[in-house]
Structure formats: structure tokens, C-alpha cells
């Protein structure tokens, strides 16, 4: 369904109005069609569905009462990362909402070693099981991080 800025200052002639929305059709928000396609391609239907849930149904206080809503900055950084990231053949990463409103992405590299990245409102923190590496980067480095971890 499109989410528009709200205004009721005009309405369309009947012939141009939307029909009753179909529950079978999901209409991405304006400018988000490419993003939705990206989620489907790289995370599969399950990952796409989880992100939809996190964005829309996890308000402040979710979980044990301390969970924060998904950070819009974390979400935007996550999208920038996904645009460049590649994953081993047949691998669909898992995605989680963290207590602080970040998005955590987990998968195994070609050697079966864990790779975890948490996107937050401040940047991205990552962990590579291979070499026991932990570090963090700013939002400006999402493309470089994706290239680095795709090769890990």
C-alpha cells in the first residue's frame, strides 16, 4: 500500500479512484520498489516478510518492554549495504531486530564461518568468526563494508 503524506484536500473522479485494495497486492511506498526487490532477491520471501514486520509492527517497548523501534538510519544503512553485498550461493542471511532498534544480519561464509553485522543509528558493528574479528564503521562506509564482507 502506498503511504502518502496525508491530505484530504482533493479527491479523484470515480473512474480514476483506486478500486478496493486487494489483499493479494502489496504496493511499495513511493521510491521503495527497488528496495523491496532487493530484499526479495538477497533475503528471500522470509527475510522480506520479517523486515516488513519489524518496520510496521514493532513499536517502542516490544519484547520484554525495553525494545526500541527500528531505527530509520539503521534501516537506510542496511539497504546501502545490501545493494553491494553478495552471499555464498544458496545462502539466505537471517535478519533480526535488536533491542536498541538495529538490524542484525547473520550468515555463514563459504567456509561455514559465521559473519554478523548489526546496523545501528550510529553505524555498523560486525563480527567475523574467522579470525575472531570485531569492529565498527560509520554509515558512510557501507559499500566498502559490503565489499569486504562479501569476500570474507
Amino acid at each position: 500500500m502506498m503511504t502518502l503524506l496525508s491530505s484530504d484536500c482533493y479527491h479523484l473522479h470515480e473512474g480514476l479512484s483506486d478500486e478496493v485494495p486487494s489483499s493479494e497486492v502489496h504496493r511499495p511506498a513511493p521510491n521503495e520498489a527497488a528496495q523491496e526487490e532487493l530484499f526479495l532477491q538477497k533475503l528471500g520471501a522470509r527475510g522480506w516478510g520479517r523486515i516488513h514486520q519489524f518496520r510496521n509492527y514493532y513499536g517502542p517497548g516490544w519484547g520484554e518492554g525495553q525494545g526500541r523501534s527500528l531505527s530509520p538510519r539503521a534501516m537506510a544503512a542496511f539497504c546501502q549495504f545490501l545493494e553491494t553485498a553478495t552471499f555464498p550461493s544458496g545462502c539466505l542471511p537471517s535478519v533480526f531486530l535488536t533491542d536498541r532498534g538495529g538490524l542484525e544480519l547473520c550468515w555463514e561464509n563459504a567456509d561455514g564461518k559465521a559473519v554478523q553485522v548489526e546496523f545501528t543509528s550510529e553505524g555498523a558493528e560486525y563480527y567475523l568468526e574467522e579470525g575472531e574479528i570485531e569492529s565498527m564503521v560509520s554509515h558512510a562506509k557501507m559499500k566498502a563494508l559490503a565489499e569486504q564482507l562479501s569476500a570474507a
Binding site: M1, T3, L4, L5, S6, S7, C9, Y10, H11, L12, H13, G15, L16, P30, N31, H52, R55, N56, Y57, G59, P60, G61, R68, S69, L70, S71, P72, R73, M75, A76, A77, Q80, G101, S121, H139
Partner: protein
């Protein structure tokens, strides 16, 4: 894919045209907060009540909270605060400044009100993170607008003329995204009287990583306003613009 922003930007932009076609302009901020909806209106109202005395509950506020969780409602306002010149709309994740219908006060006055409002939002302390900063201008024209636009719709190789028509597209001028709707089948109330004609509905916004509400929020509104103005005047055919009595600085 073709040019993401194919509209030519005019060398000179009018300050105004008359009659002014702007029906409504909305300046919107989407955000996250740790405050519940039960506390949010009070936090804001305490700071704006000298200017915005009256309140109006919108129909969605009567819908149970569980049903409002549907993504279609996430960024919809539930409450309006009214002043003689503007109204402020507030929802659990959105706040917007809206001009009075058919009474566009001009950009300098709007910018002044936005500066004041962002200051009050900062004082209220409920805003956790900005998600989207956008502006939307809705213009009404009594005639079919399509022949007057640099926008052609063809069907089977023939120009589509005289039919009810609506075109919606998303254009990109990074970091701005802009959604344009043009329709020749709209009804708008002008001075309380419904009139049928055409609308141009332009929405331009910055994403979460491209603005900081309290650092450069007003500047970003300024940027978006200029981009919408350029799109609007870039889209009109020169000969049509000349009939609108443009006033240049």
C-alpha cells in the same frame, strides 16, 4: 533506465503567479520516539498552545490502536492543532505543518513557522530519530492540465487527449526523491465550493541518512522547496506560464 530527473530547470523562477494554484502545502517530518501516543500530544501542546489553541481529533484517532498498526496508517496524523494561519498535524510517528486551504502565505512566512516549530519539537524532547523529511505541494487548475505540461501520454502511438487521465511517477535528484502526480480528474474545494479540474501533486523528501532534524532540518526544507518549485515551473509550457501572470524577482 532514462534520466532520473528529465525536467529542465528554468533559468529564472517566478516569485509568484496569479491566481495562485496552491491548494495546500504540507511540511512533514516522520520520526521514531520512545514516547507512547498517550503522552505525545501533551508534550507538544504544552509548548504550542499560545499559538495553536484549538485541537481537532481526526477520524483515525477513533480507530482502535491495534487496527492502526496496519502499515497504511503508520505515518498518518491523529490530531490537529489549529491557528489562524496554519495547522499542525500530529501522529505517533509523524508531525506536519500544513497551510490553510487556498491561502498560501508564501515561502518566507512558512520557513519562519518551520524554524519556530522545529525549535518547539526540540524542546519537547520526544523526537528520537528523523526518518523522512518531506514537503508536498498540491496545485489545482480549472482546465485540463495535460496540454499545458511538458508531459505527454501516448496510447498505441497516439497522444491521449480528452480522456480522464492520471500519471504518477517517482523522479530522483539525489539525495531527494520526488513523486509527481498529475491528474485531470480531481475535485477540490475552492472557497467551500467543490470544483472539478486538474491537480499537480508533488511530494519531495529526504531519507533518514540525508538530514538531521535539529542540525539542518530548516535547510533541508528549504532545499526541498526549491526543488519542488523548479519541478513545477520546469514542467509548465512557456506559453501557459505566461498566462499565469508570473512575477519575477
Amino acid at each position: 533506465m532514462s534520466d532520473p530527473f528529465p525536467i529542465p530547470v528554468p533559468a529564472r523562477l517566478p516569485d509568484s503567479i496569479s491566481p495562485c494554484p496552491i491548494v495546500e502545502a504540507i511540511f512533514e517530518l516522520r520520526f521514531t520516539t520512545t514516547e507512547t501516543w498517550a503522552t505525545l500530544p501533551g508534550l507538544l501542546y504544552a509548548l504550542i498552545r499560545d499559538k495553536y489553541r484549538d485541537q481537532r481529533r481526526l477520524p483515525l484517532d477513533h480507530v482502535p490502536e491495534e487496527l492502526r498498526k496496519d502499515s497504511a496508517f503508520t505515518h498518518m496524523p491523529l490530531l490537529q492543532f489549529l491557528s489562524p494561519d496554519f495547522l499542525i498535524q500530529l501522529g505517533p510517528r509523524v508531525i506536519s505543518l500544513v497551510t490553510k486551504s487556498n491561502a498560501y502565505p508564501g515561502w518566507p512566512r512558512i520557513k519562519q513557522e518551520l524554524e519556530w516549530l522545529l525549535g518547539e519539537i526540540k524542546k519537547a524532547g520526544f523526537l528520537d530519530e528523523g526518518e523522512r523529511l518531506g514537503i508536498r505541494y498540491i496545485d489545482f487548475f480549472a482546465e485540463d492540465i495535460f496540454p499545458n505540461l511538458l508531459l505527454n501520454v501516448h496510447l498505441c502511438g497516439q497522444p491521449l487527449k480528452g480522456s480522464e487521465c492520471q500519471v504518477a511517477t517517482v523522479l530522483r535528484r539525489p539525495p531527494l526523491a520526488m513523486r509527481l502526480i498529475a491528474s485531470n480528474g480531481a475535485v477540490v474545494k475552492v472557497d467551500g465550493v467543490p470544483k472539478s479540474g486538474s491537480i499537480l501533486d508533488v511530494d519531495a523528501w529526504f531519507g533518514a541518512l540525508d538530514f538531521d532534524v535539529f542540525e539542518n532540518g530548516v535547510k533541508r526544507f528549504d532545499d526541498a522547496h526549491l526543488a519542488v518549485k523548479q519541478l513545477f515551473f520546469g514542467l509548465l509550457r512557456e506559453e501557459y506560464l505566461a498566462t499565469l501572470n508570473p512575477q519575477y524577482p
